[in-house]
Amino acid sequence: MGLLRRAEPAGYEEFVASRYREIVRLGALLTGDSRLGEDLAQEGLIAAYRSWQRLGGPDGRPEAYVRRVMVRAAMRARRRRWRGEVPTEELPEASHSGFADQADLSVQVLASLRRLPADQRVVLVLRFWADNSEAEVAQTLGVAVGTVKSRTSRALAALRTSGLLVESSKEIR
């Protein structure tokens, strides 16, 4: 009891100030949209505020908590998608005409992420951006490791067919 009795939880403001940008970036990848990503980040940070007395302690790991809240919220999109909501946003034709600058690439990647089912998008981000192992992703999402593998494979295949592979490969070399 009394977890929320303190009016000004020590350390919360510092945590937000120092980690906000990175948390918003995670949100953008989880949703495929910068603005939605910021909303998602704020949802996670408000949840963290409510539990700050525990999270602000030595074993609190507030960022892990915020990420869990965000992943859970992002997965809710799965239900909307599975309820028959078909994404209508198509990749711009520019997806096959090269990526002139970083901003364009970012837009293309976010658009590609947006077109993925939430299941696949979340797995992709946790695996390759958050550097979670397959087992960790499986644990986080409550699915089998085999499911993580197949979702990862399908997500990578979708990015490949979106036209990102060729151009990004050129850049990476």
Binding site: G2, A7, Y12, V16, G84, V86, L105, S106, T147
Partner: protein, 319 residues
């Protein structure tokens, strides 16, 4: 595309994202305070009180935490589930339930549970093989194709074995419905304890018989099964029409008392958007809909529909 390329793409995309909020701290602190006040208005104070808030109509709500149940065969409730506490068992309220740390002969009531993560669990959980039971409000995530679908208390309940390696005697039971996380019973050591848990009734069968199906289906999603367990989706009209007409043709309702348990491997779950349908094989040739209805079904219909979806998915993805 290699993992390194994917990582590079995601890094670049993330690096270009700039928050719109230039000074989030003040606003988030204010929103956080407001959120706490809102919760207090519904409960009393604090997160622990939120646990009590979901324990509606909970006879043990006034019992001291961790104390033995006041009398034999007490009934406790959480999230619509009721549990008849066995004689001599304790009832304990916790905010977060940890299956690995559960004590024997205890009924836990919790707002949420801790799935833990790799490396966070001991090799041998102390609770392994022990008899205990927990009801968790934000329980396990729903599945399109559950390990088992058990008919209980006029409700279709999905059963899973979430930790076969370190808690092999643990099964989770939750209503098979559209909620992502539903109130879940965690039962360890003695599956007869399931008889002590009561669910609210599920949706009734459609008045005109058959399975409740969406009027229009825009996708059919299932799990392709071992070895890949990959999600497969059909969106083409021909496949969707055949799936819907096959399911709509099932008109022979299962009489009360003849319901059987749908089990994997063999059973096939298909999400039709608003509704999920599960079809059994020869061991239980019945089909159910999360919208309502349980009917007899040809033993091979589930596999046939699965094959259709897989073929449609492959055709769409060019594989």
């Amino acid at each position: 595309m290699t993992p390194n390329q994917a990582r590079d793409l995601l890094d670049r995309a993330a690096a270009a994202v700039t928050p719109a909020e230039t000074d989030p701290t003040t606003r988030l602190t204010a929103l956080g305070k407001r959120s706490v006040r809102h919760r207090r208005a519904w409960g009393t104070a604090g997160v622990a009180a939120a646990v009590a808030a979901v324990v509606v109509a909970l006879p043990i709500a006034t019992a001291p935490r961790g104390e033995p149940a006041a009398s034999p065969e007490t009934t406790v409730s959480l999230g619509g589930l009721s549990v008849v506490v066995p004689n001599g068992w304790r009832t304990v309220e916790v905010e977060t339930f940890d299956p690995c740390a559960a004590a024997p002969h205890t009924v836990y009531l919790a707002a949420r549970w801790s799935a833990g993560g790799p490396g966070t669990r001991p090799v041998n959980c102390p609770s392994k093989d022990q008899a205990w039971l927990a009801v968790v409000r934000e329980g396990v995530v729903g599945s399109v194709n559950p390990s088992q679908v058990v008919f209980k208390d006029a409700q279709e309940v999905m059963a899973e074995q979430p930790y076969q390696h370190y808690l092999p005697a643990l099964w989770t039971y939750r209503a098979l419905n559209d909620e992502i996380r539903a109130t879940t019973a965690f039962i360890s050591g003695d599956q007869d304890l399931l008889a002590r848990v009561t669910w609210p009734a599920g949706p009734p069968a459609p008045p005109d018989g058959g399975l409740a199906l969406p009027d229009r289906i825009s996708s059919a999603t299932t799990d392709s099964g071992p070895p890949t367990n990959g999600m497969v989706v059909a969106t083409d009209t021909a496949t969707l029409t055949e799936i819907r007409s096959s399911l709509a043709a099932l008109r022979d309702p299962v009489p009360a008392g003849e319901e059987c348990t749908l089990r994997k491997p063999g059973s096939v779950g298909i999400s039709l958007g608003e509704t999920t349908v599960v079809l059994g094989d020869a061991s239980c040739p019945q089909a159910i809909s999360t919208g309502g209805g349980r009917v007899r079904a040809p033993a091979d219909l589930g596999q046939h529909l699965l094959d259709l979806i897989v073929a449609s998915d492959r055709a769409a993805s060019g594989n």
